[in-house]
């Protein structure tokens, strides 16, 4: 089946920056809505308004999944809320065919005093299940949430992870034609996350999915299409999920922040000969990575050492360059130039930041450690979950 389930044509939405004005505009909209003339003046912004979503169009068929990505405040959630029918577009048109399921606010409508079981009934009714359907599904839901021991305990005594698990179990028990997902994968512990993914994989086959996430590995795994938003507008869209993710990584604002400053300062950093200014430097996978630094070192520190650390976009330390026996960098004139070469770098596709550290070799003191001293973006063919995509040889044995 390849029928188009979602059709979005030139949809825009404005929001207001000031609350007082926003309420007053609300009154005006209310008036014109009740008079049946909402569509007037819709292409103009009123004072303090801005476009939260501007002229977005796309279509999605059954079995396709649109990865909706962008920085915070790019308009992803607003678009999702319009698709869910919670708010009306200010211009354009949205057509949705089939039953809509949303995994957005897990556990919205839970009452903390009531037991898990009671809340399942309430929550499932909210998403449109009838009593008989719930009766049929309740054991499966409890089972999936792994809460059979605690199901008759008030939800207020659940840990936040347990609440989200229950929310996910209920919300995903629906069999929709269209599924809207907003950052739901960041739930629960590892085991549960894997279970969620398996269930998602099953759901996705027969649905049109819109998946909002900041986790690019997840997007690259699930999405068949991509829509990168910036300030309400579509920046990149189409089948090229990899390009979209690259463009998103390229948008990361790279401003170094000085963590601990001593007697050393960095003059310049260059990667593969290209001086780092502000934009991440593009590095091809499996090329040599050459990092050069020009440093100013105070004369009293005669011998220093250097180490590097690599952080991924989620600010996790994924790799370090650290010699077992540090090479002494001799400081003669106060001006020091060094180059570190890492052969055939096998970082996976994505953006990484560089931490530069300088120690005094004689005293062992840390002289400087600069977080996010430079950024570089690794270009590769495939998106991978982990930070490294190892090279290797696969041979079939006779």
């Amino acid at each position: 089946m390849s029928d188009t389930l979602i059709k979005v044509e030139g949809v825009s939405k404005k929001f207001c920056r000031s609350l007082k004005r926003s309420l007053w505009y609300g009154m005006q909209d209310l008036g014109s809505e009740l008079l049946g003339q909402r569509h007037s003046r819709n292409d103009q912004l009123r004072l303090n308004e801005f476009w939260a979503v501007k002229d977005v169009s796309f279509e999605l068929k059954r079995g396709e999944c649109l990865g909706l990505i962008g920085c915070n405040g790019a308009g992803k959630s607003t678009l999702l809320r319009m698709l869910n029918g919670l708010i009306k577009p200010d211009s354009g048109r949205i057509e949705m065919r089939g039953k809509i399921g949303a995994l957005i606010a897990l556990g919205a409508g839970f009452n903390p005093i009531l037991s898990g079981r009671e809340n399942i009934y309430v929550n499932a009714s909210i998403i449109g299940l009838g009593k008989r359907e719930i009766d049929k599904k309740i054991d499966e839901i409890i089972d999936f949430a792994e809460l059979s021991e605690f199901i008759d305990m008030p939800v207020q005594n659940y840990s936040s992870g347990m609440q989200v698990r229950l929310g996910f179990a209920v919300a995903s028990s629906l069999n929709p034609d269209i599924l809207l997902l907003d950052e739901v994968m960041a739930v629960g512990d590892m085991n549960f996350a894997i279970k969620c993914f398996n269930r998602m994989d099953r759901l996705i086959k027969n649905t049109a999915v819109i998946f909002v996430s900041h986790s690019m590995p997840q997007v690259s795994r699930i999405a068949s299409d991509v829509l990168l938003m910036e300030r309400g507008a579509a920046l990149v869209q189409g089948k090229g999920v990899a390009e979209g993710i690259d463009a998103y990584y390229g948008m990361v604002d790279a401003i170094p922040n000085f963590a601990l400053e001593g007697a050393v300062s960095i003059e310049t950093i260059a990667i593969n000969g290209e001086p780092y200014v502000k934009q991440p430097i593009v590095v091809r996978r499996l090329e040599d990575l050459r990092i050069s630094c020009r440093l100013q070192v105070a004369p009293e520190h005669r011998r220093v050492s250097l180490y590097l650390a690599f952080y991924n976009i989620e600010q996790t330390n994924v790799a370090e360059f650290l010699e077992d026996e540090p090479t002494a960098i001799v400081n003669r004139s106060g001006n020091v130039k060094v180059t570190v070469t890492i052969p055939r770098v096998n970082f996976s596709k994505g953006t990484y930041s560089l931490v530069v550290g300088i120690n005094d070799l004689d005293t062992g003191h840390i002289l400087m450690r600069i977080q996010s001293a430079a950024f570089f973006q690794v270009i590769g063919k495939r998106a991978v979950w982990s930070s490294f995509q190892l090279e290797g040889r696969l041979e079939q044995l006779p």
Binding site: L30, E33, G36, L83, L86, K88, K99, I100
Partner: protein, 283 residues
């Protein structure tokens, strides 16, 4: 395969297609029935689970205010005109009936407010929130009616066959209260002034309704009472409960007719306003 439901969202007001809108309204009302029931059960359960006196609280309010008025009139601080009923019963029935009305009036706004988190995040029939409020009022009203009947029995008043019509009185109070309450909900969700104004207005309204004071015999006060559309509602409901023939059945029916029309308009406005209100509340 059953036909796939198609949903279209566009900036146009739904009023452009009134037939479709009416169909959607009743479809959602039907679809929201069960959810409304669940929400009502949830709220009632949650309300009483953390309480020892539980249901008793439903009539603590009217009983204490009855006691206050009995004290005031007994001590001669206020002078209440002559009532055909024993005054304690008059006040008790009055305050009970009045509390049902005020609950009904406040429910739509309160219910919508407390469900605003859900409304902003999930799409479900919005009617369910209102219906759930009505269920809760009916539940509270049932408790109050039991208390009223017991006290009538104690005093030795026989309601007679009029009692069978008494539920109609309750329903009409609910109808008028809900339609007025629903009408102010859209604006009330945007501005908190509305809720405050209603509280003030209700206080005033109670004194020009036959709740504590009987209908004045003459003068401008009588005109005020007569102009108040709540007067026939409260009087008729009380008459049915206490075995008197209703004095002004015609006005009673007329008020209900108007309220029914008002309810339809208010419902329409509520539906149309929901996306706009949600947009102005944060997610």
């Amino acid at each position: 395969m059953p036909p796939v439901p198609v949903t279209v969202y566009s900036p146009d007001s739904s009023l452009h297609n009134p037939l479709l809108m009416l169909r959607d309204m009743f479809r959602d009302l039907l679809a929201g029935r069960e959810l409304a029931w669940r929400l009502a059960v949830r709220d009632i359960n949650a309300q009483y689970r953390q309480s020892i006196l539980g249901i008793l609280w439903a009539f603590v309010g009217p009983v204490t205010s009855t006691a206050t008025w009995l004290f005031l009139s007994g001590a001669g601080i206020i002078n209440v005109g002559k009532t055909e009923l024993p005054y304690p019963i008059y006040v008790l029935t009055g305050t009970m009936i009045w509390s049902i009305f005020t609950e009904a009036l406040n429910a739509p706004l309160n219910q919508t407010r407390s469900a605003s988190g859900m409304l902003a995040k999930l799409n479900f029939p919005r009617e369910a929130v209102i219906i759930s409020g009505i269920y809760q009022i009916l539940f509270n009203a049932a408790i109050k009616v039991v208390l009223l009947l017991v006290s009538l029995l104690v005093v030795g008043i026989n309601p007679g066959w009029g009692l069978l019509l008494f539920p109609l009185g309750i329903l009409s109070l609910l109808l008028v209260g809900t339609s007025l309450g629903l009408l102010i909900t859209p604006v009330g969700m945007l501005y908190s002034d509305v809720g405050r104004a209603v509280a003030v207005l209700l206080q005033f309204l109670m004194y020009v309704s036959p709740v504590i004071f009987p209908l004045p015999k003459s003068g401008w006060a009588l005109t005020l009472f007569k102009l108040n559309p709540l007067t026939p509602l409260i009087a008729t409901t009380r008459d049915w409960l206490t075995g008197f023939p209703p004095a002004d059945l015609g006005t009673f029916l007329a008020v209900n007719g108007v309220a029914l029309l008002l309810l339809l308009i208010a419902w329409l406005a509520y539906r149309l306003s929901m996306p706009i209100i949600i947009e102005r509340m944060s997610a």
